[in-house]
Symmetry: C2
Subunit: 304 residues, 2 copies
């Protein structure tokens, strides 16, 4: 906080200067009376932060409105970001009203947003009024926000696409070409749809901006962290080497474990997720992993 507060810049977004209207603080009490809280915490660290926020927001009389922008699934609990928030708050403030929860997601590579390039996002909430409030808050001349009631689908799409992006990056690292990567994108989308349908999400969500749109930008934008991680693996670096060289959180790595467990729990076949898990955590050679994906015996195409 100190450094960014002083320079109004971050080395992760070269050239971007934070508006003076934005106040930075690490005082948790500052959120006690916020109208809307945007939760932008990497998924595996959310719970520890929201555990500490619980006692602070307990003072809040009205239900809390929280917009989550995290993309992943918590390890072990297999909870989605909004579920982690609800769970942490329910433990610490049993008597307060349940929070109103929304998700903001979509193809939004940060350096492009920082340059005000056009983009589209999804504001998802079971609470339609909150979805519309988020839509109004974030819409502007270059950012278009659509609403969607399917929180489960939007959060699953955001989580699993990071795993598929690691596989796409492996393709890049192996210099397998865009034909292979695009086939992988299509098969990856099919895996997302199968898991989502088994869990009760709407298939339409996965074919929209927060689904295939986010998947496409994550698989093809050079800046993507998950894709870059996969690319390094494809070039022969180890996961530990890659993670030691970055100060960013690569959400897809931990999320691969969670998504694989969800797939097993719901008896859904997710061969790309399995292959990424094998490369990340079982020392499989990326070349063998991709080769085994390509040679899977499955002759008639199947999506749902």
């Amino acid at each position: 906080v100190g450094e960014v507060s002083r320079t109004r810049q971050s080395e992760r977004l070269p050239g971007f200067v934070l508006s003076r209207e934005v106040e930075l603080t690490d005082d948790l009490r500052s959120i006690a009376h916020a109208d809307v809280i945007v939760s932008a915490i990497p998924v595996q660290y959310m719970r520890s932060v929201w555990d500490r926020l619980g006692p602070v927001v307990r003072a809040h009389g009205a239900p809390l409105s929280v917009v989550s922008v995290a993309k992943g699934i918590e390890n072990d609990t297999l909870l989605r970001p909004t579920q982690v928030i609800a769970d942490a708050l329910s433990r610490s403030q049993a008597s307060s009203p349940a929070p109103r929860l929304a998700v903001l997601s979509g193809p939004t590579i940060a350096p492009e947003l920082a340059r005000c390039l056009p983009a589209a996002m999804i504001a998802a909430s079971a609470d339609q009024a909150l979805a519309q409030q988020v839509q109004a808050m974030f819409s502007n001349s270059w950012l278009r926000v659509y609403t969607n009631p399917d929180v489960l689908g939007v959060e699953l799409a955001g989580a699993v696409k990071n795993v598929i992006a690691i596989a796409a990056g492996i393709c890049d690292g192996l210099q397998a070409g865009n034909n292979a990567k695009s086939a992988l994108l299509a098969r990856g989308l099919a895996e997302i749809v199968r898991l989502g349908q088994a869990m009760g999400a709407r298939a339409d969500t996965f074919f929209g901006i927060a689904g295939v749109g986010d998947l496409a930008t994550t698989c093809f934008s050079p800046e993507g962290r998950n894709r870059s991680c996969g690319e390094a693996l494809g070039r022969g670096r180890t996961l530990d080497e890659f993670l030691a060289g970055t100060n960013s959180v690569v959400e897809g790595v931990a999320t691969t474990r969670s998504v694989r467990e969800l797939a097993h729990r719901h008896a859904v076949e997710m061969p790309i997720v399995e292959a990424v898990h094998a490369v990340l955590f079982e020392d499989q050679d990326p070349i063998d992993a991709i080769a085994s994906l390509m040679s899977r015996v499955q002759k008639a195409e199947r999506v749902g």
Copy 2:
């Protein structure tokens, strides 16, 4: 034929040498006894060639097996490639058995295929035996072929994705970024699905390798001709200037007219197709076309 026959190379695929096992000829009679004919003719020129092939294949006793790899919709008739072949043959050889027709499609940028990089394709036919025959003919260690009975869906996906790719190229030419292009890809897929469903195709086809897979590679591969055409338009060149500078057929240009007519005929909203039509044929400024796409009043996301 003469030049390629002598050099075994084409300037369109630098570095690729045609196998000596492939015989080149422009003698139409050579196809009279072919087991399977692969029709790789740009869509707007197919009819004139198949009109001339009709009398030749009339001699053929068994039904002709034809695999089409063209991606587009014929102007005025609004017929798909396999329909053009069937139509041309039915006019010239009324007494012969109807041809067996298949489509081979998918994300297959040619320079990558020429280097034997891994890829996946769809062999589509209402005749399952033919689909499997095509699958067996084209499958090898680096090319994986899936079957799909939905010829209509595969041909529509292949045609419309070229129009969406022109829009994606316009985004690139305007340097709008990958967030915008990915949102466009998702909205473009929704347009393809809406048209396909109105015409009776299976939605699953559009979410598979020949649908979203081909759309992704066409929108993101720098080599794509339709994307490149759009990029030139986005940079301020005129369509005539671009076409004068290429010796390749840009299928998406003529197909834009056909797809727009199909959309009107089936009362399907296709705003991206309308925008591309306006830029190509109505002198609309690409910046205005993209801006008007972004500002469309549509608040809740809708796919089907």
